[in-house]
């Protein structure tokens, strides 16, 4: 049986879809068999982040309603042999699926795949309940902002009341320069407040924008900051003990002098 991971956050725009795409692709790069599910019905997005938007024939709702077989709806990524996407329906709403059906779908996929990764919609309504229903493990994405951390706290509470305890945290879009200046909450501040296990930290990285433009997840890049951070998370999820990457800000002598003169 494979693992079913749900990527959730409460707040929108913190990087759930980017995280789902990169973890999925990251697992596939190590040879694991992965199914990505876009559970954001009505606001399909994971397909464009993955660069698979032109290959959609059937979607999640078609599978649930029996319009096609599961195998027909799964899009195989031609670049990575073991990576598949089950896209969300674009013309339906979240009520087209219920938690029981999602649970069944996840169980069926977990028989065939090493990892099933669900991209959860923002919010705490039906779409959220659908997305978490079949998950065996929850990963919460937040950014170092008051609003995002607050929503993450709410989500942790809701997951617990649904019997999904011990979610893991990814802190996204950390800016080491601002942390150093004391103008951004750091890893310890956030862990202190949310009191859950840290899975990884993704530094702010312009390459994410470029990779999303191209429809190639950043994790495929050999050396970008975000790519390394995502690869590390994948290794941790596979049971390896990987230390957090250094967020050390290198200040050159020149910038020090400039700073000094600006006093």
């Amino acid at each position: 049986m494979g693992e079913v991971l749900v990527i959730t956050s409460g707040k929108g725009g913190v990087g759930k879809t980017t995280t789902a795409a990169n973890l999925g692709t990251g697992f596939a790069l190590t040879g694991k068999k992965v199914a990505l599910i876009d559970a954001d019905i009505g606001l399909r997005n994971l397909d464009v982040v993955m660069g698979l938007e032109n290959r959609i024939v059937y979607d999640l709702v078609d599978v649930v309603e029996g319009n096609c077989r599961l195998k027909q709806a799964l899009i195989r990524d031609k670049r990575y042999e073991t990576l598949y996407l089950l896209p969300a329906a674009q013309t339906r709403d979240k009520n087209a699926v219920n938690p029981e059906q999602m649970k069944k779908l996840c169980e069926e996929l977990a028989r065939d795949f090493d990892y099933v990764i669900i991209d959860c919609p923002a919010g705490i309504e039906q779409g959220f309940r659908n997305a978490i229903a079949g998950a065996t493990e929850a990963i919460i994405v937040t950014t170092p902002e008051v609003s995002a951390v607050r929503d993450a706290d709410r989500i942790i509470g809701l997951l617990e009341s649904e019997g999904k305890s011990n979610p893991k945290l990814i802190i996204n879009r950390i800016r080491p320069h601002m942390v150093k200046k004391g103008d951004m909450m750091d890893i310890d501040d956030i862990i202190d407040i949310l009191a859950i296990d840290l899975l990884g930290v993704i530094p702010e990285d312009e390459y994410i924008v470029i990779s999303t433009n191209r429809g190639e997840p950043a994790v495929t890049h050999p050396s970008s900051l975000a790519s390394t951070a995502y690869k590390n998370i994948v290794r941790r999820l596979c049971g390896e003990n990987v230390p957090l990457m250094s967020m050390e800000v290198r200040t050159s002598f020149l910038s020090k002098v400039k700073k000094f003169l600006k006093l």
Binding site: R150, D153, R154, M184, I193
Partner: protein, 93 residues
């Protein structure tokens, strides 16, 4: 240290807005986390009755237990009318 002092002299105190963020977050979460379920409060009430009944007879019907929030803190406020103190080895001085 010295740099901080100079910065202050020049009116450039490091803003450290993360501390503002942390404090605001702390307050917001204190209030968010107060929204516990009615069952939670009922269970708490039942447990309190059990303990207090060892010492005194209380009016369970008029008993009130609530979480109240002020700007910076949360308090558990209980108003428990006592009908009669229990006589027993524990109550005797």
């Amino acid at each position: 240290m010295m740099l901080d002092l100079i910065m202050k002299l020049f009116g450039k105190e490091s803003s450290g807005s993360k501390n503002i963020a942390k404090e605001r977050l702390r307050l917001v979460l204190v209030h968010d986390r107060v929204n516990v379920s009615p069952q939670f409060m009922e269970t708490l009430k039942d447990d309190m009755i059990k303990v207090i009944s060892n010492y005194m007879e209380i009016n369970e019907r008029d008993m009130e237990v609530n979480l109240t929030t002020s700007k910076s803190s949360v308090a558990l406020v209980a108003n428990i009318p006592v009908n009669r103190m229990k006589r027993g080895p524990m109550a005797m001085k």
